[in-house]
């Protein structure tokens, strides 16, 4: 009766109790399903970008030069650093240090804010130059990818804000920190995707 389906397997894997010291996914599995779905969407968009470019190499190369590589690089550093802060925040809460955790996460949140500001300046420059998703194939992908990612940063910041609020009110502890790990996983995904997006859209030619 107990037929094995991919679904049961998935549940069992997610409930896997370690005997060999292997751990489970950090945070709540419900969010991980979402994370994998988002990675899939971005993956398809990345590949679609690359293949569309293969048909319009000159157009892509030319348009790519109008992007600010420096602001893209700064944003990469900003996100990497904020991800690093989040890692420290998680390890702080694992030791029951709510305050420290809160501070690290506030730092990460503020860096997210810097990313947003830089990104808005970038969008504004393109808007002022009358460039939109309908301008050409390159800008379609550039704006779609970065705007879609931009929204993820905003969402990540909202999640971080919730966690900061809760952790500063001693809502988490050394025993109960799944919520922090869950939010952290989302934030790292935002970082993960930007790390691929930046060289792909801004640099590689």
């Amino acid at each position: 009766m107990e037929a094995q389906s991919p679904f049961t397997t998935l549940i069992e894997i997610s409930n896997y109790q370690s005997t060999t010291g292997k751990k489970n996914l950090p945070g709540d599995f419900a969010l991980w399903i979402f994370i994998f779905a988002e990675m899939l969407v971005f993956g398809v968009l990345f590949v679609a970008y690359a293949f569309t470019r293969a048909y319009h190499v000159e157009l892509f190369n030319e348009s790519q030069l109008t992007l600010s590589r420096t602001s893209g690089a700064i944003n990469t550093l900003v996100l990497i650093t904020s991800s690093y802060f989040v890692v420290n925040g998680v390890s702080a809460i694992k030791q029951g240090l709510s305050k420290q955790c809160g501070y690290w996460l506030i730092g990460a949140f503020l860096l997210g804010g810097i990313f947003i500001i830089i990104k808005i300046l970038e969008f504004h420059a393109k808007y002022a130059a009358d460039i939109s998703m309908s301008t050409n194939a390159f800008y379609m992908f550039y704006l779609s990818l970065t705007f879609f990612h931009f929204m993820h940063v905003l969402m990540g910041m909202i999640i971080l804000a919730f966690i900061i609020f809760k952790v500063l009110n001693d809502g988490y502890s050394a025993k109960d920190y799944v919520g922090v790990e869950t939010g952290a996983s989302f934030w790292h995904m935002v970082d993960f995707l930007w790390i691929i997006l930046f060289p792909l859209v801004y640099i590689i030619r």
């Binding site: 190499v57 690089a73 550093l77 990497i80 952290a184 790390i195 691929i196």
Partner: protein, 92 residues
């Protein structure tokens, strides 16, 4: 317990520094205007390595079950591979 955590903080710091260095390298290569097959492959490889480092160390998937690391590594192979393929086609 404390020991392990400070250990992981140190390794996270090292990873962070490597990621920063690789980002700066990517930026330099872009500013230098390097193009062509090897530059493309190098940049793509750096990006993929960086993303794997985030997955393994920041997301802490390194000690999880094979399947989760497998999904991330599969992403590396499939997405990275297809992108490389598309670029190589355009160079050919």
């Amino acid at each position: 317990m404390k020991q392990i955590n400070s250990q992981s903080n140190i390794s996270a710091t090292v990873i962070w520094l490597i990621l920063v260095a690789l980002t700066l390298a990517t930026w330099r290569i872009g500013e230098a205007g390097m193009v062509g097959k090897s530059a493309m492959l190098l940049l793509l490889f750096i990006a993929m390595i960086k993303s794997q480092m985030v997955a393994n160390y920041f997301m802490a998937l390194r000690h999880t079950r094979l399947i989760w690391r497998g999904i991330m590594f599969g992403y590396f192979v499939i997405v990275g591979g297809l992108i490389a393929l598309a670029y190589l086609r355009s160079l050919a």
